[in-house]
Amino acid sequence: MGNLFASTNSKVVGLFFSLIIFLFSFILSIVLGKTPITLQVAIDAFLNYDESVTEHIIITTSRLTRAVIAAVIGASLAIAGTLMQALTRNPLAAPDIFGINAGALFFIVFSATFFSVNSLVHYMWIAFIGAAVAAILVYFLGSIGHEGLSPIKIVLAGAAITALFVSFTQGLLVIDEQGIQSVLFWLAGSVAGRSMDMLLPVLPFIISGVLVALFLGKAINILMSGDDVAKSLGQNVILVKVMIGIVVVFLAGGSVAVAGSIGFIGLIVPHIVRGIIGTDYRWVIPFSALIGASLLLLADVAARFVIMPQEMPIGVMTAFLGTPFFIYIARRGLTRND
């Protein structure tokens, strides 16, 4: 499939297609739901907003925000996953599998329980710190030993750190029974019922993360040819790796602060993208952003219908989508010679 979009022109066309898929998913997310809305009404809601029309209110107060948040989070998680898979050369790398989501989540629940933090800006910084702590721990644990960073070791380290933070979080929730309901949505991951105010403080970090990621494409291409080759080509390997790490923390930590722990988007999307357009990271990263946004939008639409009249938490939806994928990769093997 890698040859399908081999030339630059075809990649531009491909990117255009992804953009259309993204817009289509975005519109679906606005019109479909418990109250179905026709496209005409949806357009009216933006052009001639009328407060007396219920559908217009639904769109502006809930659906639009929800779609924007899903798109931003989907894109962030997909880019974070892409960068992590490149950095660790591991097809199973993703923010949730390597414990970054669990770390950010634990730090949020911890500060909410003991320091009564409830400002969104604080949550965001706490999520960044949690994400960074987990990322460093997992990278360190996965690298110790004489063979250095091995794919299986880092996956196990990620699972162990996830188990650690999850059990700490559960312990806190048992101590603080009242707290459970207020943080439950973070645990399950959700893009519903958020106001734009929750996204705004995080948005500058996510946007700069995405921009830096786009500029890193070329450097990642060089890095993928091996540390030694990259060094001899004059690349400051450490700097590139640290930059990737910081971008991952901003994107993954920011996502958790806004929408809680949403798994598997970061795992699936890079594989789909690399399967379609190959391994040129200057292209993989923008494609991942669009496909990630579309996938989370569609997952969110599906979450509204599977157990009508209730809504499925979106983290559960993505887990159901992602587990078969995870198992497929695990069966195929982590390295070529497995």
Partner: protein, 346 residues
């Protein structure tokens, strides 16, 4: 006098070699666990003098502690010990099968499966059916998930690495299912489910102890029958195959024992984490590498860890009763990181 004692059945199918040092270690650990046992019975919201506890246990007490010790503390302490030893041996077997020190029942999805069973039970059946059947639901969940993990890992045989990776994936799916049921349930069930998920020995009664006992008494001795296989497997699957071990069949049987032990432990005490991970590590530091020596050592160490964690859980934040699982994770995880760091060049 040699350093080793050899035990061998007539046909040679069961055979192991024990280092004499292991026997000393075992004796010391046994005495230590008795000490913890007595301390465990004496501390709590009302303190009882250790000598009074011992008197009471031997039947010379005045009867004033009948309720506190017999009804409240004894079942809880015994259950803690049984659960810990089951988890310790389960982790030991699993790490042996996978030949990786990072494997444990909580990581490869056994605990996750049990959680799904238990949470479905808490959300839908508590009230309708007696809560006493919950361990059965958890055990059923653990078994089903283990079968799923094992069959998905099958591709002309099961390799250890594939087993672990698939286990991690399935564990993530199990967590998602648990989250789904919790989000969809009411507050009461949510709190109850979290208490169980974290792993707590709160409210253990004699019935629980009696139900847990057969699992430990049957499966831990049975695992000793596999000493020869496990010692050979240390050398790698290829060597084991060359020495005439039916690798796939033995692995399936060992996995079955490991799941039964972990499943039963999780069923009665919830997700007490990291015991299955660290107990075998400590055992290997103390008792060398012979599987026959490691089984009882891991069992004792696992039992001691959970008893100590439960003492801390009951007394540290009086009158609050914190789930013991928080402390096993809190002590277990940093210790685990230290172990990994210490053994980085081995």
């Amino acid at each position: 006098m040699t350093k080793f004692i050899s035990v061998r059945s007539k046909s040679g199918s069961i055979s192991c070699q024990l280092n004499k040092k292991t026997l000393y270690i075992f004796t010391i650990l046994f005495l230590f666990s008795l000490l913890i046992f007595v301390i465990s019975l004496s501390v709590g919201s009302s303190h009882i003098h250790p000598l009074a506890v011992i008197k009471h246990l031997f039947g010379y007490g005045s009867g004033e502690y009948d309720f506190t010790i017999n009804t409240l503390r004894l079942p809880r302490v015994l259950l803690a010990f049984l659960v810990g030893s089951a988890l310790g041996v389960s982790g030991l077997i699993l790490q042996g099968i996978v030949r990786n020190p990072l494997a444990s029942p909580d990581i490869i999805g056994i605990t996750g499966g049990a959680s799904v069973g238990a949470v479905i039970f808490i959300v839908y059946f508590v009230g309708a059916i007696s809560i006493k059947l919950m361990p059965l639901a958890a055990l059923l969940g653990a078994t089903i998930v283990s079968i799923i993990v094992y069959s998905l890992s099958w591709k002309k045989g099961v390799t250890p690495i594939r087993l672990v990776l698939i286990g991690i994936g399935v564990a993530a799916a199990a967590n998602a299912i648990v989250t789904m049921f919790i989000v969809l349930s009411d507050t009461f069930a949510t709190t109850r489910a979290y208490l169980w998920l974290t792993g707590s020995l709160y409210g253990a009664n004699l019935q629980d102890v009696l139900s847990m006992l057969p699992w430990v008494l049957i499966f831990i001795p049975v695992s000793l029958l596999f000493s020869r296989t496990m010692d050979v497997k240390e050398l790698g699957d290829d060597v084991a195959l060359g020495l005439g071990v039916n690798v796939q069949l033995q692995r399936l049987l060992l996995l079955f024992i490991s799941v039964s032990l972990a499943g039963a432990a999780v069923a009665f005490a919830g997700g007490i984490g990291f015991v299955g991970l660290i107990a075998p590590h400590i055992a290997r530091m103390l008792a060398g590498r012979s599987f026959a020596g490691l089984v009882p050592t891991s069992a004792l160490i696992g039992g001691i860890i959970v008893m100590v964690a439960d003492i801390v859980a009951r007394t540290a934040f009086l009158p609050l009763d914190i789930p013991a699982g928080v402390f096993t994770s809190g002590i277990g995880a940093p210790f685990f990181i230290y172990l990994l760091y210490r053994n980085r060049n081995m």
